[in-house]
Structures are given as structure tokens and as C-alpha cells.
């Protein structure tokens, strides 16, 4: 399944980049995230609780950051599995400086799901993943603005 979209942040690109690369921030932003640990500069491990229609469960897995061009772009690879199935995703993030403290984030990705999440939750997966992405990006934008106000 393909995931694609864009989001305009109210803050400069460098600040946004810094947030994206901060595991604690990520943990706060992604709905359902229970823990994120930084294993190395480019690898995080964590757990996330997901509810898709009648299916709910915890996925544990890793997030890898590659092809990093700070503060412009990177590739994210996610692998997670749990009692309700597995998911594997790869995506690219591009951040475009719009001037006037605005940054446009474009993301494209491909997600593969299997097990109960696929067989029972498939029809809702698209909606749920879009919803979760939107929630996460809104939260990230909120943090970005809060930090800027503080500084």
C-alpha cells in the first residue's frame, strides 16, 4: 500500500530536522507510541500500540534512518511485528524551505502488512494510517511552534 502526502510546518527547516531526529519527540508525536530508544545514530527501537477497527495490538520493531542529507531529506525504514501481524515500510521524506519560517514536508512510502492487520483490518488500514500521520504531524508542528516560542 502506498502512502503519500505533504504537510506545511510553521517553522524553519533546521529546527524541524532537529525535532525529527530526536527520539523523544518522535515518541510523543506518533500516536500510540509506548517507547522509543535510540540504538545508534541511525537506528531506533520501540513499541507502538495500534488499533485498526476490530484489531488492536502492540508492534515492536525498529526504525532505520538512511540516505540522510540534513536538513533536506532522508529515507525511513520501519519493521515491526506483534501478535496481530507484521508491517514493513519504507519511505522518503523531503523538506523544502518555503521561506518566512515555513517548511513543506513531502513524504512518499510503501507499506506492506501481513497477518490479522491485513486480513481483517485491511479495509480500515488506509484510513487509520492517514489519520495517524495527520495526528503525528499536527503534534510535531505544535512542538515546533512551542520550542520556537520558548527560544
Amino acid at each position: 500500500m502506498k502512502i503519500e502526502g505533504e504537510y506545511t510546518f510553521d517553522g524553519p527547516r533546521e529546527d524541524l530536522w532537529e525535532l525529527v531526529r530526536d527520539p523523544e519527540v518522535l515518541a510523543t508525536c506518533l500516536p500510540g507510541t509506548q517507547s522509543v530508544q535510540k540504538m545508534s545514530d541511525n537506528e531506533y527501537a520501540g513499541e507502538i500500540k495500534v488499533r485498526i477497527g476490530p484489531i488492536s495490538g502492540t508492534f515492536s520493531g525498529q526504525l532505520f534512518v538512511t540516505n540522510e542529507v540534513p536538513p533536506v531529506s532522508c529515507t525511513l525504514t520501519v519493521e515491526g511485528k506483534g501478535k496481530v501481524g507484521f508491517l514493513k515500510g519504507i519511505g522518503n521524506i523531503d523538506m523544502i524551505d518555503q521561506g518566512e519560517s515555513k517548511t513543506l514536508m513531502k513524504y512518499t512510502g510503501e507499506v506492506q502488512i501481513g497477518g490479522k492487520v491485513a486480513s481483517v483490518g485491511q479495509r480500515l488500514f488506509d484510513t487509520v494510517s492517514k489519520g495517524m500521520t495527520k495526528q503525528g504531524l499536527d503534534k510535531l508542528n505544535g512542538i515546533l511552534q512551542t520550542r520556537r516560542t520558548k527560544n
Partner: protein, 781 residues
């Protein structure tokens, strides 16, 4: 001779028990000390199994044992080949690869069983399944049939050179020459999707190894209890008489329960013997979507050659058949497709070539219809297209091509699913189609009602689809009929029962011979202790093969009754009559003796008998036909399509069936109703969707739609009887008939409804969404 019981609308003997919840199903079996099983199943369609760690699961309180393939040692053996490739066909390629009890090295479809947990309750067992750690290496999955045969495709079975499971070419006459003489050649690609049988009752098994008596009892939702008994005994190194298999009441078979041995059928009895404990496993609905076999996926490249006046000169079909991860059921389905692609038509030149493909999907074995709906869909679609292209009425083009009634038995010169030459034993197709046309009021609808409705802006269409169905194939079934001292009759036969009304239809056959009330005949099916010869309930053969065995045994018992009564009443046999449980002297009605008294006399406790006397009024007999009896019929339908939502509404549904002698019209109509319901699912609702990784995306009844009461029309059933010459009762099967022509009928009726579109339906199942896509594609052209 007029019949007293056969052919009568007699309410079912079994219904009071079923309708009041008193019937025993496998899940009703409760045994003290019984443990429960849950299976760990693969989330991946294709993966190498690297390691399994069950230690945490074993520690969970209430867990008794956890078994993997390794634990089974030498008892780990793939299932038996259920149907071998046809020995009579030339140059058949067949690579036999059978399902395994538990995965040892490689996972080949989602839901394949990896380990089994045995616990004090199903709840604990399910929780412990989640405790098992499995390390897998995911592999690219084989999903698409054409890509699966391309060089460089990943392999489902690493030891084979390709994913080709089988290849079979059959020829009748000479298609290529016929094609050269044709005025019109139509070529099309036809795609049929995969569906589930979706029986109301999922599968289940209870196995109880009693170590003290050294005896194993198995309750199994199988359509084939005797082969399960014999195979289980062989697998476990037991005598066949140490194993009793009971197939009690079953909530629908539809074919997948004929498949044997499922992984669970291999594992659960083995575990029971290992632990000397009763073990129960009941399949849940989600497991059923992965672990119970499915059917229909085929891709056909077909070609039909016709003369300008609409006569079929030849037919060629080259097709791919999806067998899933293994092929234990041999070529039964594609052979049925080949044998039905000519329908009831006099086709002299036919070439049919199938390549069977292994894929990383659940196994494919027959589901009600078993390859026949695909064959009928092909020929009926091609005739619809030919009718348009040649400007010949669709009824007329069919009439011109029907095999004439004086041509039967009609030999097709290819082999059928039973490896016998395909011979249509009897038939008279035109009266059946005409009766359907008359019942639905075809002329009036087309001339008056349809134009009127169209002028009102309604999209209403009519469809007519004739079909044939090969039924009642061999090898054989048997039965034992006994008159008991109570005067009631006890009958045992080997086949299992899954809702077909056997307890009534079979009782009618017996009652007709021995002159008792239908309710006084007690039938036992599917208990190997009661009767242990036979094959199973499949291929619409219960009433034909077991029915005629019961008829044969009853006839012998009738003879025994009359012979004994003749001695007792001192009257010649031809002056006796058998009625109401009595043998009477015809012209002295008060001179009589009851069957119960005769049964007692036939089983004396003291005194002497003539040497060679067999005790009791009992007989065992068997029946096996040379080849299957071919039933036929025509379905007709009027439907309305909502042009906004593409939802359809069936206004009228008519079927006319000719299944030879009708045993009980009430049961027959029930069979037809159920079959049509399944056909409607196959045509417009039910399709299993797999993604490119072999993940099944609609494994629940929220997403996989089966027709419910709101989608079902009122079905009007008409009968015509053309007796089969292959058995004494003259019966033919009808269990699958309701399903077979429905997709072809839908396609025709929908095209007819959407008359202002250039719509050509070449795939099944459809759905409102798919129909919407078709019309959009047409707009964008």
C-alpha cells in the same frame, strides 16, 4: 408402478432434532479430561522457517504440551495423495506435493500450521500460541498465475524446476481444421476469481485415544469418514478396527470437508495418542479463511469457431488453474472444467489444455460446483457473444447446438474426473429450457414488459442459462438394511451427511421396498463402526451411489421378508403384499404378520435352523456405476441494476432441473435454493482478495460478503424427469446443480439490463464496484 414414498414431499426425519438444537455436532462432544488445541499459524505466505522457541509457551500455567514438526519425529509425514492423476490420459505431467502436518522447513501459504499448543482450555492455548517465538526469513510470494510460470519466478517447491504442478492436454476431433472452415472465430480471455465455501460450521475434530482399550475414537467434520479412519490407522500404525471415525451432524460440507488429511486431521489424533488424552480442536472463522480449502481461480484463453448460421464447429480452451500451495486433490477440478466447457452442446472438435500452477495461497480443492461453473461460464459466454455477432437470438443459437435427445448416450471422447470416458448417459435439453422460458414468461417479458420498464428509465434484464452437471460418479458405496424386532428398520451407510436430508431421502427408498412408514426407518451415516466400506459424500453422488446401494440392500431384505412370510402364512409370495409394517395375504387382509414378528422368527434363540441359513432379515449391498450420470437444467432470471449504485435486485428466479427420478421434491428444492445462493455469491459478492505478497485481505464476514436473506430471491423450481439408465432408481445428482450456471446467468442478465452500454462481462465474481469500474472503462474508451 406408482410409488408410495419415492417422489413425495415428505418432511425431513432429522428436522425436529436439528431445529430444537438436539443434534450432535463435533463441538458438542465433551469428554472428561479433554484438552484443547490451538495452532500457531503463519502470518507470511512464503517464508523459510529458521527456528521455533516454545519454551515460554510451555511455562504458561494450564499448558500441557506444545508440539512442532520436530517433535513428531518419524510420524511427521505429508498427507496422502487423495486423487492420483488420471492413468488413462496420455502425456500427463503431475507433480504431487502434499500438505504437511506442521511446517518443517518452509511456509507455503498464510495460515499454514507451524506448532500446536495443548492446554486445559482453548483460552489458555490461544494465549500460549502468542508466547511462541518464531524466526522466519520472508520470501517473495508466488501469487499471480502467469507470473508464477515465468522463468525466474520464486518457487513454491524448491525441488521443482518451476511452479507447474500439472499439465494435461485433451483433444476431441480436430479443432484446427474446424477453425479453418469457420465463418466466425471468437477469442476471449476469461478470468475466474477465488472464493471460500464458507460453511456455517467450520471444521472441528475431537480425538480420544483410550490407552486401556487401545482404541481411538475421532469425531470429525469430514465428508469422508471411512477414508479418514483407514488413513489415520495407517499413519498411527493401528489396525483399522482400532479406529472409529464418527462424522456426526455437520453444518455444511460443500467440498472442502472432502479434502483429507488436513493438517489438523493428522496432528490432533497423533497428539491424543501421545498424551493419552482426549483433544478437541474447533476451527474459528478466521482460521477457516486460511486453513480450509478454497476454489475457482482460473484464467482461460478461449476460442470458438462457428458457422454463419450459428452452429459450433469447434472450441479451444487453454487455461491456468490455481491449486494453491499443494495439490493433494489431483486434477479433479480442471478435469471437471474441461468436461463442462462444452456444456450440453454437440461440439465435435474440442481442444483443452490446462496448466496447473502452485501458488503461495491456501490449497484449492473442490467447492460445490468443482470446476463445472467455470466450464459452463465459458461456453455460455461465448454463445452470448456469438449470438450478438451473428445476429441470432440467444435462445435460438442454443437450440441449434443442443445435443439431440436421440444421440444419448453421447460420448465426448475425453476423460472425466473419474478417469472414465466422458459419456452423457441421458438428456433432453430443449423441454427443460422451454419450461424455464415459459415459467419466467420470456416472450411476454421481452416483448412487452422490458420495453415498458426501459421507457420508464429502468435497467431490467433477463438471462437464460442451460447447463449440465456430471454427478454420481463411482467408485462405489454400500449399505446394510436390517429389520429389527420392533418392526422398525435400521440402515447404515458409509457416506457422511452435511445437511442433504439423507435421513429422509434414504428412508423413503427403504420404505418403498419394505412397506414401513418413513419415520420408522432409522438411518446411520458417517460412523465407521456401523459401516466401514465406502468413499464419501462428494460429486453430487449421495442419492445416486449410496441411494442405489440402499435400494439394492432393501430389495434383498424385501425378498427375505416375503420368503419367510410365505412360509409362515403358507401363501405363495405373489399373493402377499407388504404395507404398513405388515405382510398381508392380498385377498384375505386379516391374515397377516408384522415385520417385527418376522424379524424375531428370523433370529431364533433356540432350536435348529436349516444349514446355511443366515440370521435376521438383513442385507448388505453395494452399488458402483460404470460412469457418472449427467443431470441438467436451465436457470432463468430477471434482474434490475441500479445505474447509480450498481446494486442489483433479482426480480424473478426460475430453475428447471432434470436430475432423473426425484426422491423428495422438498429436499430437492432445498438443495437448489442453497446452490443458487452459493451461485449468487460466486457471481456478485464472494471473492477472496490477495495482495502481491499473498496476504488475504478480506478474511472476515465483514469484508467477504456471502449472500444473506436480503440478497436471495424467491426461487421457483420446476422439474422434468429423464431417468438415468445407469442405476435402478434412475437417479442423478443435484447437490451442485443450483450453483453451476449462476455466474453465466448473471453475466447475461446484467448485459441485457445495461442495454445501452457496450458491456461484455468476461470475469467472475463481479461486485457492484467492479461493474462500476467496467462502465467507467467503457466511458473512457
Amino acid at each position: 408402478m406408482t410409488k408410495k414414498f419415492i417422489g413425495k414431499r415428505i418432511v425431513r426425519n432429522e428436522d425436529p432434532q436439528l431445529l430444537t438444537g438436539q443434534a450432535q455436532f463435533v463441538d458438542d462432544v465433551e469428554i472428561p479430561g479433554m484438552l484443547h488445541a490451538a495452532f500457531l499459524r503463519s502470518d507470511y505466505a512464503h517464508a523459510r522457517l529458521l527456528s521455533i522457541d516454545v519454551s515460554k509457551a510451555c511455562q504458561r500455567p494450564g499448558v500441557v504440551a506444545v508440539f512442532t514438526a520436530e517433535d513428531m519425529g518419524d510420524d511427521w509425514q505429508p498427507g496422502p495423495p487423495l486423487v492420483s492423476p488420471p492413468p488413462t490420459a496420455k502425456d500427463v505431467i503431475f507433480n504431487s506435493r502434499r500438505q504437511v502436518p506442521l511446517v518443517k522447513d518452509k511456509i507455503r501459504h498464510t495460515g499454514e500450521a507451524i506448532a500446536v499448543v495443548i492446554a486445559e482450555s482453548r483460552y489458555i492455548a490461544e494465549d500460549a500460541v502468542d508466547d511462541i517465538l518464531v524466526e522466519l526469513e520472508p520470501l517473495e510470494a508466488v501469487v499471480d498465475l502467469e507470473r508464477g510460470l515465468e522463468a525466474g519466478s520464486p518457487l513454491v517447491h524448491d525441488d521443482l524446476e518451476s511452479n507447474l504442478a500439472a499439465h494435461l492436454l485433451q483433444k476431441k476431433g480436430d479443432y484446427e481444421t474446424a477453425r479453418q472452415k469457420a465463418d466466425l472465430v471468437i477469442k476471449r480471455r476469461i478470468v475466474i476469481g477465488r472464493g471460500a465455501a464458507a460453511a456455517m460450521e467450520n471444521r472441528g475434530i475431537v480425538a480420544n485415544w483410550d490407552a486401556k482399550s487401545q482404541h481411538l475414537t475421532i469425531w470429525d467434520t469430514t465428508q469422508a469418514p471411512i477414508p479418514i479412519r483407514n488413513g489415520t490407522a495407517a499413519r498411527l500404525g493401528l489396525s483399522e478396527h482400532q479406529v472409529r471415525v464418527i462424522a456426526p451432524f455437520i453444518g455444511g460440507g460443500f467440498g472442502p470437508k472432502m479434502m483429507m488429511f488436513y493438517a489438523e486431521e493428522m496432528v490432533i489424533p497423533w497428539v491424543s495418542k501421545e498424551l493419552s488424552r482426549p483433544i478437541k480442536w474447533i476451527e474459528d472463522r478466521r482460521e477457516n479463511f486460511y486453513a480450509t480449502t478454497q476454489e475457482r481461480g482460473q484464467i482461460h484463453d478461449v476460442e470458438i469457431a462457428l458457422s454463419s448460421d450459428g452452429y459450433i464447429l469447434g472450441l479451444k480452451d487453454v487455461f491456468l488453474h490455481d491449486t494453491g500451495a499443494y495439490d493433494p486433490y489431483g486434477l479433479t477440478i480442471p478435469l471437471n472444467t474441461q468436461c463442462h466447457a462444452m456444456g450440453g452442446y454437440d461440439i465435435k472438435n474440442f481442444t483443452t489444455e490446462v496448466s496447473v500452477v502452485f501458488t503461495n495461497k491456501t490449497l484449492v480443492t473442490p467447492v460445490r460446483g468443482a470446476g463445472r461453473p467455470q466450464g459452463i461460464f465459458i461456453i455460455e459466454r461465448l454463445l452470448d457473444i456469438a449470438s450478438r455477432e451473428l445476429g441470432i437470438d440467444r435462445i435460438e443459437i442454443r437450440k441449434r447446438n443442443f445435443i439431440p435427445p436421440d444421440a444419448f448416450p453421447y460420448e465426448h471422447k475425453i476423460i472425466d474426473q473419474a478417469f472414465a470416458p466422458l459419456i452423457l448417459d441421458s438428456g433432453n435439453y430443449l423441454p427443460v429450457m422451454e419450461k424455464a422460458l415459459e415459467m419466467i414468461g420470456y416472450e411476454e417479458f421481452v416483448k412487452e414488459e422490458q420495453p415498458r420498464l426501459r421507457s420508464e428509465g429502468k435497467y431490467v434484464g433477463i438471462g437464460i442459462a442451460p447447463f449440465i452437471e456430471s454427478t454420481g460418479v463411482g467408485p462405489y458405496e454400500g449399505a446394510r438394511v436390517t429389520v429389527e424386532a420392533s418392526g422398525k428398520i435400521s440402515v447404515a451407510t458409509g457416506i457422511g451427511t452435511q445437511g442433504q436430508g439423507h435421513f429422509t431421502a434414504f428412508a423413503q427408498i427403504v420404505a418403498e421396498q419394505v412397506g414401513v412408514a418413513v419415520k420408522d426407518v432409522r438411518i446411520v451415516t458417517g460412523d465407521t463402526t456401523e459401516f466401514h466400506w465406502g468413499t464419501g459424500t462428494f460429486a453430487s453422488r449421495g442419492a445416486v451411489v449410496a441411494g442405489n446401494a440402499i435400494h439394492a440392500a432393501s430389495s434383498i431384505v424385501r425378498k427375505k421378508i416375503l420368503e419367510l412370510a410365505s412360509k409362515v402364512l403358507e401363501t405363495p409370495i405373489d399373493e402377499l403384499e407388504l404395507d404398513d409394517g405388515l405382510v398381508r395375504v392380498a385377498d384375505i387382509p386379516h391374515k397377516s404378520i408384522s415385520l417385527g414378528e418376522l424379524a424375531l422368527l428370523a433370529n431364533p434363540l433356540r432350536g435348529a435352523v436349516e444349514p446355511g441359513t443366515e440370521p435376521g432379515l438383513e442385507a448388505t449391498a453395494y452399488f458402483g456405476p460404470n460412469y457418472g450420470a449427467t443431470a441438467f437444467g436451465t436457470h432463468a432470471m430477471i434482474l434490475e441494476v441500479d445505474p447509480e449504485t450498481m446494486m442489483i435486485k433479482i426480480k424473478r428466479y426460475v430453475t428447471v432441473e432434470d436430475c432423473g427420478t426425484v426422491l423428495n421434491p422438498l429436499i430437492l428444492e432445498g438443495q437448489i435454493h442453497g446452490g443458487v445462493s452459493m451461485g449468487i455469491g460466486n457471481a456478485y459478492y464472494e471473492q477472496l482478495h490477495f495482495d502481491e505478497n499473498g496476504q488475504l485481505l478480506n478474511a472476515s464476514f465483514a469484508d467477504y460478503l456471502i449472500p444473506s436473506a436480503t440478497e436471495m430471491p424467491r426461487i421457483e423450481v420446476g422439474h422434468i424427469e429423464t431417468r438415468s439408465s445407469l442405476n435402478e432408481l434412475g437417479t442423478k445428482g443435484v447437490g451442485e446443480a443450483g450453483t453451476i450456471p449462476v455466474p453465466a446467468l448473471f453475466a447475461q442478465a446484467i448485459e441485457n439490463a445495461l442495454y445501452d452500454h457496450e458491456l461484455e462481462i468476461l470475469e467472475m465474481p463481479l461486485s457492484p464496484n467492479r461493474l462500476f469500474e467496467f462502465l467507467n472503462e467503457e466511458k473512457s474508451r
